[in-house]
Symmetry: C2
Subunit: 220 residues, 2 copies
């Protein structure tokens, strides 16, 4: 019985890692769809969010079933509660990737990644990718150092977010208000995606060390 | 022992209701701070978010302690897990109210509620207030009908959100890109606040009926 229980606990971890892959792939493809004004790719990102949602429901059901059946205490209880919290963040990351794809779809056949912000959006996508990959590794390996690194990557994301705003506020910004609204929301989606990934990493640190990381600046 | 246990479960509900009051008051005051360019009020909203965060931590600790000590199953287990989910949403609502207050502070002594959008922002604040009050009542009374109503209020919020965009996209919008960025983000904060409140209401429905409400259109 105990062996099966630990297999089931491990399976929660595997589901979470799979969810990081799905959320990572979704934002990666959404960013490409945005940069290339690729409608088919955008549609595929929007459709594939349902797979992440299914995994999320499976994880929620299994976690609650484990709580009911095994009555865990101490660190196992903490692990399962943390898995539920990570689950919510990862599900939301999928939503945000779908939002990026929806913006690409909305502006098709134009690209909402206007030339002046193209490079910055590309880099936001790359930083997000790096973060979500580290988070996946962190869940799989329980490597607290990698989890802590994610915060620095998130600082880079915040800098890119601020630089995007600076570009739009430049008197030379030629695309007017509608484009600024698009880019503001896009930038917010990337930034929030990274924030959720940081929250997942913090849960790993909590599970491994028992210490809750309190975000000094508060969340955005 | 059982009586004490049920008292402790009830206390989780009381904490959640208190958190709806705190989150409601925060957004109410933040909206006033924004409309009146009231720096002192904005600062007080930002500072008081820590009280909501404290309640959130208290609720999280007590819920996990209850799980460990009482080993609940079935509906009690479902109630405690739902309380943890509601807790996350309410904590985030406090963050979003603080974001509105920070925007007010950023633009002081000007008001970020530009004359053309003032009425719409006022109404977003009122709709949010109505929603969060219903959610508080819903948690206290387990009234599933009130919980379901919240979805209609949220539709109203989405309409206001779209109308704000229409105002900014009007060729007569005189405030340029910086103001549009402010208003886009503000509008997003109100809209997300309402979404989180809807998620809290859905958890109440889930606890009372055992049926998970699946959001047909997905979250924003």
């Amino acid at each position: 019985m105990r062996a099966q229980y630990h297999e089931e606990l491990d399976y929660l971890g595997e589901l979470l890692v799979e969810m990081t892959h799905l959320a990572g792939s979704a934002l990666n493809r959404a960013t490409t769809a945005l940069l290339d004004a690729d409608l088919t790719l955008a549609e595929s990102v929007i459709a594939s969010d349902e797979l992440l949602n299914m995994r999320s429901r499976e994880l929620g059901d299994r976690a609650v079933e484990l709580l009911a059946r095994q009555q865990p205490v101490a660190s196992d209880l903490r692990t399962i509660i943390a898995a539920l919290t990570m689950n919510d963040h990862l599900e939301r990351m999928g939503d945000l990737a779908a939002h990026v794809a929806k913006t690409a779809r909305l502006r098709y056949p134009e690209s909402a990644a206007y030339p002046e912000v193209r490079e910055l959006i590309l880099r936001m996508g790359q930083v997000a990718q790096r973060i979500v990959e580290k988070v996946g590794t962190t869940i799989a390996t329980r490597d607290v150092h990698a989890a802590a690194e994610v915060r620095h990557d998130d600082d880079e994301m915040d800098q890119l977010h601020r630089r995007l705003f600076a570009v739009m506020l430049d008197p030379g910004w030629p695309h007017g208000v509608e484009a600024a609204i698009d880019v503001t929301l896009l930038s917010r989606f990337f930034e929030r995606y990274a924030d959720h990934a940081v929250s997942v990493a913090q849960q790993v640190i909590f599970v491994v060390t028992g210490e809750m990381v309190v975000n000094p600046g508060g969340r955005h």
